[in-house]
């Protein structure tokens, strides 16, 4: 029975990094039926695939796993750097607060992100079994650089420069539940406590 114990331990160790719920999509019995032929969407991005993971059913004693919704929009005609500021504004807010802030922001990307959030909220209620559409918060909000194109920008006196047509992607992850409380800022007292703890952790090495 010691061999079964070690096999169990090995299996558990394997499962920490292997995570089979990620490989098996909802139609797990016939994997060949799930192969997609190449569509005009070219490639399905990694963020879109995150919505497909199916967890095994939870045991009766476990706390309820909050629903996660991944949504994104690709090739938005806006600068990646400028979009980052909006994504940073939204991080960690509840969805209602985020929509309020974006509504009164004057940037072009704010309108786009608001549409993405509303779409994601809609998806959450319809497909991902979320009960209350206000009970969502933004766990992650990121931007990525899209496909850039180089064009000539004409200056006076026959001179030119090369400009970039900037595009960006926007990714958002909504999680069910109230937003987590913000971290209290690090005070001088905390820093002093850590310093004293570091001093106390010192030991003598190469001694008895």
């Amino acid at each position: 029975h010691c061999s079964s114990l070690s096999a169990g331990a090995w299996a558990r160790g394997l499962l920490t990094w292997a995570r089979p719920e990620r490989w098996l999509p909802s139609c797990s019995l016939f994997p060949l039926s799930c192969i997609h032929t190449s569509t005009s969407l070219q490639q399905i991005g990694k963020w879109e695939k995150k919505n497909r993971i199916v967890y095994p059913p939870q045991l009766p004693g476990e706390p309820r796993r909050p629903a996660e919704i991944y949504h994104c929009r690709r090739e938005i005609k806006y600068s990646h750097a400028k979009m980052w500021y909006l994504a940073k504004l939204i991080q960690g807010m509840s969805i209602d607060q985020a929509l309020a802030q974006l509504e009164f922001n004057d940037k072009k990307g704010a309108k786009v992100i608001k549409e993405v959030l509303l779409e994601a909220q809609d998806l959450a209620v319809r497909k991902h079994n979320v009960e209350f559409k206000s009970n969502l918060h933004i766990a992650a909000s990121l931007t990525g650089r899209g496909r850039y194109e180089k064009r000539i920008r004409y200056h006076a006196k026959g001179r030119f420069g090369i400009m970039n047509i900037n595009r960006c992607h926007y990714f958002v992850k909504l999680v069910e539940g109230p937003p987590p409380p913000p971290e209290p800022p690090r005070t001088g007292f905390d820093q002093a406590k850590e310093y004293v703890q570091q001093l106390r952790n010192r030991t003598l090495i190469h001694t008895l």
């Binding site: 504004l89 802030q101 009164f104 000539i152 026959g158 001179r159 420069g161």
Partner: protein, 185 residues
């Protein structure tokens, strides 16, 4: 800026011409950037060494070249490339991040969001649409420009009669129910 050189002294004119040529050379050293291959970068900044002989000025003597060099050196130029860490510190500084607005409330009329010191967008759009319709009625009644009467105007909706107070006023009829926000008198 055009400089009209009409001075009688030829020496003064030659000096002004030289100053003007020097200024032109200082500000536009990349003059033949347009003819180079399409993806060649346009040097809109200081680099006089390669292009000084390109714009040949017959009156310029070789003794002027060190003068051109001296006038170049006062330009402010970055000494080193800014690393991405330094760039991030500047771009992500709290003063550059977008501030969270604390002046957003709910409109008591329609329930949409509004800023405290600004009219509700939805209610304003509603009023604007109705005003547009009233103005169309006025335009139909007047018929052309410069026909505005010298009396007041009163807007009446379905089933409303003009009262004694609206004696001499112009009456505009609107074929719909009176909206709740547009109170009479």
């Amino acid at each position: 800026a055009l400089v009209v050189v009409g001075s009688p002294l030829p020496r003064l004119r030659a000096l002004l011409q030289r100053c003007w040529a020097r200024l032109e050379r200082g500000l536009s050293p990349g003059a033949f950037g347009g003819q180079s291959p399409p993806w060649g970068p346009a040097l809109a900044v200081q680099a006089p060494a390669l292009l000084a002989p390109a714009v040949s000025d017959g009156s310029e003597s070789s003794a002027e070249a060190p003068g051109v060099w001296e006038s170049m050196l006062w330009m402010a130029v970055p000494k080193k490339r800014r690393s991405i860490e330094v760039n991030r510190c500047r771009r992500r500084h709290p003063s550059k991040l977008i501030k969270v607005k604390r002046n957003i409330d709910v409109c008591p009329e329609c329930g949409n969001l509004k800023q405290k010191h600004v009219l509700c967008g939805y209610c304003y759009a509603k009023v604007k649409a109705e005003t547009q319709q009233i103005r169309m009625e006025i335009r139909k009644k007047e018929g052309g420009p410069f026909n505005a009467p010298t009396v007041e105007t009163v807007v009446l909706y379905d089933g409303e009669k003009p009262t004694e107070k609206d004696e001499g006023k112009r009456i505009i009829e609107r074929a719909r129910k009176r909206p709740s926000w547009f109170t009479q008198n």
